[in-house]
Symmetry: C2
Subunit: 430 residues, 2 copies
Amino acid sequence: MTSTKSLPLGSEERAAGNGLISRRWLLRTGLPAVGALGLSSEMSRAEELRVPDWSSTPGLDLTSYGQPSPFENEVVRPTLPLFPEGIGDGSGVSFTPLEKLAGTITPNGLFFERHHSGIPEIAPEEHRLAIHGLVERPLVFTVEALLRYPMVTRTCFIECAGNSLFNSMDEPQQRTAGEIHGLIGNAEWTGVSLAHLLNEAGVSPSAKWLVAEGGDAAKMSRSIPIEKVIDGDAFIALYQNGERIRPEQGYPMRLVLPGWQGSMNVKWLRRIKVVSAPVHTKDETSKYTLLQKDGKSRQFTYEMGVKSVITSPSPGREPGAQGLYQISGLAWSGAGRVTKVEVSADGGSSWAEALIPDQTPARALTRFQLPWVWQGQSATLMSRATDETGAVQPTREAWYEPYAPNQLFHQNAIQAWAVSSSGGISNVYV
Amino acid sequence: MTSTKSLPLGSEERAAGNGLISRRWLLRTGLPAVGALGLSSEMSRAEELRVPDWSSTPGLDLTSYGQPSPFENEVVRPTLPLFPEGIGDGSGVSFTPLEKLAGTITPNGLFFERHHSGIPEIAPEEHRLAIHGLVERPLVFTVEALLRYPMVTRTCFIECAGNSLFNSMDEPQQRTAGEIHGLIGNAEWTGVSLAHLLNEAGVSPSAKWLVAEGGDAAKMSRSIPIEKVIDGDAFIALYQNGERIRPEQGYPMRLVLPGWQGSMNVKWLRRIKVVSAPVHTKDETSKYTLLQKDGKSRQFTYEMGVKSVITSPSPGREPGAQGLYQISGLAWSGAGRVTKVEVSADGGSSWAEALIPDQTPARALTRFQLPWVWQGQSATLMSRATDETGAVQPTREAWYEPYAPNQLFHQNAIQAWAVSSSGGISNVYV
């Protein structure tokens, strides 16, 4: 077993302070230095190729609908009801466990939840979608009817406006990456263009806004400027990652407004009313407004900011053994494509560019990685994303600057993880 | 409700015979003619916007791992054990229900299975991957060690070499699209480049082939030319669609050889032996060879051919009401990108190009669609894919030409669905 001390990495491969290695190292064919990882062991003992019990007898049967391995039963969504039982029943969140996942797709079973009055049990043949208001022909659609329309397929994230709210608190909360930043999920959605349906109904010239209303008991309702739909990219999703959308994601249908705050992507969608002005529903006045220092609230903040988080290492996913490690994380922007992700291991003193795909997707999660040599030194790991508009993820201090204390929506500040010399990781503000 | 007779579609929008409409029609903003779909109904009755019971009381709680709606409990993998109980236990298949899905990702619960001796229940901390044979340093990897390596993320299909075998039979079998063509799935896989690991072990100059062996009781073993790995795209997948790979897909790890026949993507991978020549394992001599008319068998047929299938309409997913309908299906090629999909509604007399994305992915599923006016006429629907090498999906007759009767592997012939005047659909050979 090769010692981590003998890493044959020249200084030209150091990309920034405190052990960060150039992303170019990852692109080399055959990773010349990977023999120095010190992770494998040389095969010398006969038992290494022994035949385990599970290879000796026929295994389990075919199944009609598969489930994860029982050995992965801790990979779940942590749930957080927001009120005591009997008060506000069904209002709560569950978090995508970001630190336990890889790649960019969020599997359907682990896609975060935010409910305002629980998950309605909707019989699809009884569900109707109405389009009415300032239209020539008010229309009603069954699920079956929508399934006959042309379909759009698009991979994009949905992020709750309250994601990362724990980092608005005075003291850094010791929670996992998913429990802080996991009110986001990324999926391949398939559904019907809302522009097509509005066109069929015939929109009046005085129409400027829509109100989308959900079929849950909270009747989640949001005002949407019509430009996001006409000549825009809004659609009504019937499928998520190939299969029919699940109950907690809006079965049988939800609105998807790529890049815009989660609650506007109305679940269990039952009607779209075309109107001339925003209607200031309870869901856009009592919540989802941004209280500023001057005492005024910003309303109708749609687009989610440019953001990133290191998911590995992170609390609960510590580096373990010393040696070469791969820093990995997720980056996204509601404004378009991520063009750059930088990583620091020294609390922001120096930065190295992480490896991202040549073609990053718009308004969808991008995975970044960067090799890092951890030899027991303390470190402060941070990531900073830039998007195609040139917007750069802010520091926590800069993000907070315009806001009143405890303003918690649209929190997209840089996350810092402190790695101790023992390898423990904690959430810190820098 | 607009009559389907009044479809305002000029002759310039007819793309081919028997009701096929130009794909350009789908790209228009607002679909000018969509008002003629006749699918929605004008909202005139008060009860259309009634508040259903599920909107009146708080719904179900948050869940730690989500499941599909109970109303979708027929969306399952049809299972087909291949031997009677007590003989060849655990050898069988289950099919991805293609006709019930949309988009391109196959959800993990519905990704097809092919097991040769059931699903081993592998404890991940006890599992080892060995790389040995013609190497300088035989190596053993734990799952934990592999998780520290740089990761590649890639969306690609895996297709069983025996997919579509029912269409090799003398008479067309009356099965669904999934039950005929569903030994394929498409996922975002994340794992470790096998080239990196071989480089770490140090491959001998005499090395030309690998043998990959699974940890199931069948010890599925396949010979692989080393070029697919060195300077190639082979990797060891640990994650599928974001979460750890499921037991029936090879938990805790499987080999992925993008575009190559399914059984070479060895599940429950336990060792890679580097050798100088193919070893002719039972799994590449007793099966997966192609018997030709001259009595000789073709062996080591890796790459899956260019192929497509219309999933909607198809048996079990009939058009229902007359009017405008969206033909939709999947296309793929083991050789690279799909560049064109054509659709015929008149049994191949005339063809129209279907809509596919501007950028189609290599060795991954591509969704195609084309509008079709069905007004109760009988029709024979077919799709024909072309890939970036110029290969065109063959007719059944042309595909069968070199083979002996009942040769069933690498069946990529054009599928024809006959639509009757009543809207029933059957599998036909044309």
